[in-house]
């Protein structure tokens, strides 16, 4: 059953990403100020959106673990956080590439990138903690607490960094963002891309979750054998 769902999602993702990539790469006109590179927005921003949502969802799963003490939720929380960490990394790398192309610097201390970097560091710490604790219940408990602290802190980080006057983009981002609304033609592929990233995240979380469950089972069998 689970495999069937996984297959369905993978097919849906493959179809969606192919179709959307075709639209983005071939269907859209080059943007006035940025030429072809502006298309990186379609990889950069959705990664942030889905990634940050993922951290929040991870916190919810952690909360459910704390309430039920069922390790299933802990495995799910860990998988979700790990995949979100990957998406955050994609956001950082694409942001860096885009910045290099546009402003000539590999890293500009702008609000969004800096916030995402701090977020990434917080949850990289979470992943390190997972490796540092052997006993599954203790690991689940401690990581759940870190997840809650980390997510609340991440929210703080975003708000606080936004208010720092000097951390703005070195130049205007996109010329078609006049009046805060993107042109319709450019908006639609954006939403499809967010959906594609979401599908990708769910697929990877399902795979990772199964890996973690199996690894936990092997670990307990090993303990049983040694007892």
């Amino acid at each position: 059953m689970r495999n069937r769902v996984l297959l369905l999602l993978t097919v849906a993702f493959a179809v969606l990403i192919t179709w959307n990539l075709k639209n983005i790469l071939l269907g859209l006109p080059d943007e006035a100020r940025q030429d072809a590179i502006f298309r990186i927005l379609y990889f950069h921003a959705p990664a942030a959106i889905v990634g940050l949502t993922g951290f929040g969802v991870g916190m919810v799963f952690s909360g459910i673990y704390l309430a039920t003490k069922n390790l299933y939720w802990d495995t799910l929380a860990a998988s979700t956080t790990e995949v979100s960490l990957m998406l955050a990394a994609i956001n950082l790398v694409t942001g860096s590439i885009w910045g290099r192309q546009q402003w000539g610097v590999w890293w500009a201390w702008d609000a969004r990138l800096t916030s995402m970097l701090v977020c990434w560091l917080i949850f990289a710490g979470y992943m390190m903690l997972r490796r540092a604790v052997d006993e599954p219940n203790t690991r689940a408990r401690l990581c759940a607490v870190v997840s809650v602290f980390g997510t609340v802190n991440a929210w703080f980080v975003y708000k606080v960094i936004e208010w720092i006057p000097r951390l703005q983009h070195p130049g205007p981002v996109l010329s078609f963002r006049t009046g805060g609304r993107i042109d319709r033609q450019l908006e639609t592929p954006f939403f499809w891309m967010v959906l594609a990233y979401l599908l990708l995240a769910v697929i990877l979380i399902m795979i990772r979750d199964r890996q973690e469950s199996i690894s936990r089972e092997i670990d307990s069998l090993r303990r049983l054998a040694h007892a």
Binding site: L66, V118, L121, I122, G125, M128, L129, A132, V133, N137, T138, R141, L142, A144, V145, V146, V148, F149, G150, V152, N153, F156, V157, K159, V160, I161, W163, I164
Partner: protein, 256 residues
């Protein structure tokens, strides 16, 4: 009808009496809780005062950092105007981490943590007591660092000393609360010395930023006003939220 009303009246009167009777034990509970927190805090401070291990190490460390900063940057007045707040709080953060690491680590010797958890003190009381002790230690450390900083870099901090103390008080509480929770969390890990900084430093970013910006302003002579009140609110918000989170989650961290 009359019997009905008088019966209901009697029930209501009973409820009122039991309510006011239950508020006296509540007061007692709060006082006893605070008493336990203070006992724990006093114990930590006394133990630290006898050995002065953490205090000496962090003072030495902070002095070295200040000296290294003077080599790394050219401490002329313009430079100091821009960087003073940032530098000062970096020193507080790195030196403070030494103190915070010791906090729960000192309980592991002789299995003292087990005895504390088996006692009637609730984990939240243990946590608040330790946070208070760490706070006192960090504030002491920071005053000494501030004096050193003023001397070494010729920064005049007495001008805006009132608001500066407020910022230090608020910022240090935020640092202490988060640091103490993670000290408890990492206490049983074999990689404790590594895991504490890795987990805690990113989490300190909001409180550090607010404190740094405010301190830079105050040391440059700008008073607290509508321009930077936002950051004071950030500090207060951070302190309140993370104290609440710490108190509610510490039981899970320590006992599980």
């Amino acid at each position: 009808m009359k019997e009905e009303l008088s019966r209901k009246g009697a029930e209501l009167a009973k409820k009122q009496i039991s309510f006011s009777a239950s508020s006296a034990p509540l007061r007692e509970t709060v006082f006893s809780f605070l008493g336990q927190c203070l006992t724990i805090a006093q114990k930590d401070l006394r133990a630290e005062w006898r050995t002065k291990e953490a205090l000496n190490a962090s003072l030495a460390f902070s002095t070295v950092i200040l000296i290294l900063f003077s080599f790394a940057l050219d401490p002329n007045p313009e430079m100091m105007q821009e960087f003073s707040g940032g530098l000062l709080w970096l020193v507080f953060l790195f030196a403070g981490a030494l103190v915070l690491n010791r906090s729960f680590a000192r309980e592991m010797q002789n299995d003292c943590l087990d005895a504390l958890l088996a006692s009637p003190v609730p984990p939240s009381g243990l946590f608040l007591g330790k946070t208070l002790a760490n706070y006192a230690l960090l504030m002491t450390l920071e005053f000494i660092c501030l004096a050193e900083f003023g001397i070494l870099f010729n920064v005049r901090w007495l001008a805006n000393v009132g608001p500066l103390m407020l910022v230090m008080a608020l910022g240090t509480w935020g640092m202490t609360v988060v640091g103490t929770v993670f000290s408890a969390l990492t206490v049983n890990l074999r990689l404790r010395e590594v895991m504490l900084p890795v987990l805690v430093y990113p989490m300190m970013v909001p409180v550090m930023m607010a404190a740094m910006i405010l301190t830079t302003d105050l040391l440059a002579g700008t008073a607290l006003g509508p321009g930077n009140m936002l950051w004071v609110r950030v500090l207060v918000g951070f302190d309140v939220i993370f104290t609440l989170l710490g108190v509610s989650l510490i039981d899970t961290v320590l006992v599980g």
